[in-house]
Amino acid sequence: MPETIINRPDLQSFQQKYGQSLITVLFWVLFFFFMRPLIGMVGWIFGIQLFTDIMIERGGYHALFDLLTWYAGIVVLIGLVLGSWSLYNLYRYGRNEKRKHHPQPVQAGEISAFFHVDPNWLNELQASKKITLEHDAHGRLINSGEELDEVWPRISHYR
């Protein structure tokens, strides 16, 4: 019986098993490379001299605080802009609905006109269980109006 979640690592190919693991390792290395200054700061806090050059030569934690202040300011600004835009839309469109009534369902005549098919044939199509359609190179139906396969029953009800 098929299951919704397919988790079968035993079916992986060699490339999937090892190639993707390699990529994951590379990205984790990259991730920790990004974390160098943080690791440097932690190392500095615990007195590991090896890391102090990053903190001192590159501005140290003062640079971090300055940066975080800027980031926080920009993130707040983004939140305010997004919130204002949302409230504007709510004010502008929330109580000014132009589509107040449900649109009329599209009629068979409109559909047959759009697809350039005979309305009677469209009615037949809509009542058929099995249909075969053929198109030309431009995507136009070329068998519009042909008899449908009589072997198949028409739809009586599907509810």
Partner: protein, 422 residues
């Protein structure tokens, strides 16, 4: 001159580092806002709201060479908890046994109908033909390899019943294929990137695209905008824009779950993402001219967001090329990139990744428990996401520009992950 080159160089570098960071925060803020405004107050996904009147629905399933999946897909559809629906399967000129299987299913089940297209016409045409022969005003369209949750139709249809301005509803695709690392990563990606973006875009008021794998439509709205275009690589992005440019609303319904197969090889993933990027670029090029009108201003945020991501892709590539060139030749001081690995901005970017995943998994635990077990596998993924984004953008834009208008788009998925045969 030196000042100018320094200014340009710094702007490029700052944009390359800060754009992903601040977009991550924009999506997190938007998604959290969406959650507290709408999602939190709703029932659990397996307890959909009761509809006073459940209108008839036609479920359309375009299939191309789906012999291995279609029985499972139709099996799930036959179990839908909805009172009044038909299933229209459209066999798009398959060369495998799809047609034979569909005929057998249609003979066996009253609800199932089959439309055979004599030759492969592409998904957009299959959807058009399915709509043409459908008997209902409301259409639910899913892919031929997807499993629709039994409550999903009710969750989507409630939007049409309640609001006349809703033209379409997009559901919540969940990944089935989780055997490989790539599969597991995509579980998180669909939560942390796509799920967050869709929620955030509902706060903008307009969404960039519905998920073609699971979406519902008001047929009269789709008819009004001329159905799906046949010449767009991604028909789902295109129809999303056509409907919204006609001032219709598109809703995201996270409770409408649909279980999907995704690529589990790098080659398959690359092909899929390149197609998505090309489709996005095609839409951007096609609808740019129509956006200048003031009444279309609600589309501006999503347009700017996507356009900026294209600019970012090329900026990032320029930074990398400048760095590599700087290792070989002497560049003007302003264009010299000392390191492509940022220091403190890198720390913040890395921590933002952790936060982004934590928030998205927390929001998505409503739909799937134990998501946090994927946290360790993929917290670096947003970094990879931006790199993939850069590569696909750079390759896809020239393809989109070079593509002739009117040229028919046909596609097939050639990698659906590890899928054991039962």
């Amino acid at each position: 001159m030196l000042e100018w080159t320094t200014f340009i160089g710094n702007t490029l570098l700052n944009f390359a580092y800060y754009y992903p960071l601040f977009m991550a925060f924009l999506w997190m803020i938007g998604a959290t806002y969406y959650y507290f405004r709408w999602e939190r107050r709703q029932n659990q996904w397996d307890n959909p709201p009761r509809l006073e009147h459940a209108p008839p629905v036609s479920v359309i399933v375009p299939c191309y060479n789906e012999a291995g999946n279609i029985e499972e897909t139709c099996g799930a559809l036959l179990e839908l908890d909805y009172p009044d629906y038909e299933i229209i399967t459209v066999n798009d000129g398959s060369t495998d046994r799809t047609g034979v299987i569909l005929d057998a299913l249609a003979r066996e089940h009253d609800r199932i109908r089959v439309v055979h297209l004599a030759r492969n016409q592409g998904k957009a045409m299959a959807l058009r033909m399915g709509s043409m022969v459908s008997r209902s005003e409301f259409l639910v369209c899913i892919d031929g390899d997807a499993l629709l949750d039994r409550h999903a139709v009710t969750w989507m249809i409630q939007h049409f019943v309640r609001s006349p301005r809703v033209a379409a509803v997009t559901g919540n695709p969940r990944i089935r294929t989780r055997s490989t690392l790539l599969g597991k990563i995509q579980v998180g990606e669909f939560s942390a990137i796509l799920g967050l973006i869709k929620r955030a875009q509902r706060i903008y008021g307009r969404i960039f695209t519905m998920s073609g794998v699971v979406s519902a439509f008001r047929k009269s709205a789709v008819h009004r905008v001329g159905y799906w275009n046949l010449d767009m690589v991604t028909e789902d992005i295109d129809i999303s824009w056509k409907l919204q440019m006609d001032y219709w609303d598109i809703r995201y319904e996270p409770h409408a779950l649909c279980w999907i197969l995704m690529p589990e090889t790098l080659r398959g993933l690359w092909k899929q993402r390149l197609r998505w990027a090309q489709g996005g670029n095609e839409v951007l090029l096609r609808y740019a001219g129509n956006l200048r009108y003031w009444p279309r201003r609600r589309m501006w945020p999503v347009y700017i967001e996507y356009l900026t991501s294209i600019i970012w892709g090329y900026s990032m590539l320029t930074v990398i090329l400048l760095y590599m060139a700087g290792q070989m030749v002497m560049l003007p001081p302003g264009f010299r990139v000392e390191s492509i690995i940022p220091t403190w901005p890198g720390v913040v970017l890395g921590l933002a990744c952790l936060l982004q995943f934590a928030i998205s998994f927390a929001l998505d635990t409503r739909y799937e428990k134990c998501l946090f077990k994927y946290y360790f596998v993929m917290i670096w993924y947003p970094l990879a996401f931006w790199l993939i984004n850069m590569c696909t953008t750079v390759v896809a834009l020239p393809k989109a520009i070079a593509k002739k208008r009117g040229e028919r788009a046909r596609w097939k998925t050639d990698d659906r992950g590890i899928h054991p045969v039962y």
